[in-house]
């Protein structure tokens, strides 16, 4: 059990956005976090990466909570934000180097990985560029390269498919597949449901700060037999309950 979120109540202020949320992500598993705008996806992610502290409940990563040992907890996580953020004063090369320093990676080995990743995402000739010169998609690729440099146990990816070109989306999915084989887990939030349906092992459907359903696609289909076949249908029927 890599990540275990149990009975988490939390949010940005005293008013909770998340109302008693529980789910888990197992080793070697890609879990899709699905929900409408404002359903609590980003809040959940912010809790998992430790930017927010839960009011109630616990988040455990391979047996460690952030309060017990924040270093050991953070060491296991790599995060790709929805909106890319970079240090304006550092070049691409320096971003990579800083990531290696921060995660205490072996420089030589890490650079080998880095060069492979840079080549895949066609950034290998831009090592001395500043973030200001990158387009949004390129910045997102930098985030991906930095994250996959770390050999983390849990990758947290916030809406990766918007803004990336189709080739990069494909490369990212390959990369995820490859890391899953080595036992890493991935928690990914997205709105691109047909891609999610094809690649995620399990889904957590968030609605209004609560976990509506959770499970594999067939489990979801079994739970909501009249909803329809695809993830899209299930998702729409789930939101309709509320609108009616």
């Amino acid at each position: 059990m890599a990540l275990e979120v149990s009975h988490v109540v939390g949010g940005y202020s005293q008013i909770p956005v998340l109302k008693d949320i529980s789910f888990d992500v197992r080793d070697g598993e890609l879990v899709g976090l699905i929900g409408l705008n404002g359903a609590g996806k980003s809040t959940t992610i912010n809790h998992v990466i430790g930017l927010l502290t839960p009011h109630k409940g616990t988040i455990t990563l391979n047996g460690v909570t952030i309060d017990q040992d924040s270093q050991a907890y953070k060491q296991q996580i790599a995060y790709i934000p929805e909106t890319p953020v970079l240090y304006q004063e550092l070049t691409l090369r320096e971003h990579l180097e800083m990531t290696m320093m921060a995660y205490d990676l072996d420089q030589k080995q890490a650079w080998e990985t880095a060069h492979d990743l840079l080549k895949v995402f066609r950034l290998d000739n831009k090592l001395d560029w500043f973030p200001a010169n990158f387009s949004k998609g390129m910045k997102q690729k930098v985030m991906i390269v930095c994250a996959f440099l770390t050999q983390a146990k849990l990758y947290i990816i916030d809406e990766p498919f918007l803004g990336l070109d189709p080739l990069a989306v494909n490369d990212l999915l390959n990369l995820i597949e490859q890391r899953k084989k080595t036992g890493a887990s991935i928690l990914m939030s997205t709105h691109v449901l047909d891609t999610a349906q094809r690649y995620c092992d399990r889904f957590v459907l968030l609605h209004d700060g609560q976990v509506k359903t959770e499970g594999t696609l067939s489990e979801l289909q079994a739970a909501l037999p009249e909803a329809g076949e695809s993830l899209n249908d299930i998702y729409l029927s789930m939101t309709k309950v509320d609108r009616a």
Partner: protein
Amino acid sequence: MTDLFKSRLQRHLREMAKYLRLVFNDFFVFALMFLLGGLGYGYSNVLKQLKLGLWWAPVVVVLVLLVTLQVGRFATLIEDADRVFLLPKERAMHAYLVAARRYSQGLAQTTQVIVVFLLAPFLRVALGWSVPQIVGLLIAQVILKDTLLRLDLASAYQVTGQRRMNDWPIKWALGLITLAIGVWLTPYAAIVLALLVDAVVAIWMQRHWQQQQIRWREQIKIEDNRMLGIYRFFNLFTEVPMVEGTIKRRRYLDWLFKSIKPTHEQTYAYLFSRGMVRGTDFSGLVVRLTVIGMLLLYFVRGEWLPIFLAALFIYLIGFQLLPFFQQYDDVVFTHIYPIAPELRLKSFERLVTLILGVAALLMWVVIIIANLSLVTAGIALVVELVEVWYLARIYTPQRLARAMKNKA
């Protein structure tokens, strides 16, 4: 439309007032008074030594007035969204622009009057002018400024195709010719000429503006640049969110980072050092304060005053560096990297020690050169060392710890 300008102007003035309060803080007013006093004293000394008939005196007058003429820009307060939202109202914009020009006159003409007023004693002594002559020159100057602002207004329209009526050669040539006539010939001729040009531009505008489109993009860019200039100035004194510090590669300074080895402990030293050197905000502040301090220390001599001044400047630099610690708080990775917070603080302390150390050393050298006194140099060294140590190792961590606690 005039109402729109009025409400915008109110908002603008409120904002300016907010910043001006911060600019004219006690320390700055104090420094400014010293500076003005010194300059006034110097000016009056120069005046005493002047004689009639110096060949360069009229040249100075023309140059000063010519430069002053360019001060006071056309403030339109136009915003980026206007080219979408006000586009249907384009014809009505004229009233808005006229109101804007009227407002721009205030500051621009005040500047002209003040400068001519300051020049008056010089005109009397060096050129032997009478009061009516000086007043005549003042009137010519004011009319010229009025013309220039009229040209700015005309240029907001696409009146003359790609050519703009307020291109800088036109502005400078117009000023140069009129002022030269005014100074070498007679100021009364300058008045007539300036009036003539102003009237021609006014009549021509009256005939043409109605058929023309506004150069939205250009006007927005001009206004943005104007505001950026103002914000930059405020940014010297206080944090202005609208000014994002620019980043320069400064490859020639890369050798500074050589001593920072790529190890886990050095992660923040790696980031802070590059951020400090390549960002212009904080490095500019440090350089400015150090240079001002050095200049002041060269001119202010004595036994204790230099020591006090050096200590003051080191404190100012150290104090202004504090917010740099939070510079990267909005980059999410600053919170996600598995790095102990103590390491970040340690790196920051080292950076502050280094910067203050270098600044202190430079000022110390100036103190020695200026005073050539072993005692003053010795005391200054001790005071500076203690201060740098205290600021970097005690004061900074304490303040930052308190700031972090307040946030949590």
